[in-house]
Symmetry: C2
Subunit: 102 residues, 2 copies
């Protein structure tokens, strides 16, 4: 969850996500949309993959990336819980100084 939020915190990575929403694309095809070097894009793709936001699969020479909307929906869920209709003063948040977010 923390990884997802961190991955979404970068504008390049958010643009990559939008590109992948349209269709699956190879690493090089993605890189062509940016002025950044290919290794940098590779690094961003890795961050997205590590967060579970995208998946990759080799097809011959190419490595195709695709979006994993499941994780995006988890993030969405977290936000909905906050803005969420109704439950305005309902579910108490309980954590102590040691507590970590799941």
């Amino acid at each position: 969850m923390n990884e997802s939020f961190k991955a979404l915190a970068d504008p390049t990575r958010r643009q990559i996500i939008r590109l992948l929403r349209e269709k699956d694309r190879s690493a090089g095809e993605i890189a062509d949309y940016f002025k950044m070097s290919k290794p940098s894009i590779s690094h961003h793709l890795n961050a997205l993959k590590h967060a579970g936001l995208v998946q990759d699969e080799r097809h011959g020479q190419f490595i195709m990336y695709s979006l994993n909307t499941t994780v995006l929906e988890e993030v969405l869920g977290w936000l909905l819980e906050l803005t969420g209709t109704g439950k305005q003063n309902e579910p108490e948040v309980h954590f102590n100084k040691e507590a970590e977010e799941k």
Copy 2:
């Protein structure tokens, strides 16, 4: 928008948001929930404020913080656009190498 995502990328700041969802709280009250120093919490509160996610208002000695759900809903909107039902291959994303995210 970028500021919002960056603000949400930190677990301490997300916990602060959850605390403020319950009710408005003073800076000190918020700081008591964490083992971090007060200046650090002040810094995080500033990041949230800068992103427009929270507002502050002085009440005598205390400075009360409250949640601004409007900005959270904008973030929510961004995510909904991606996971969004229906419009699967509809709105083309068009940006060039110079383009900045609004």
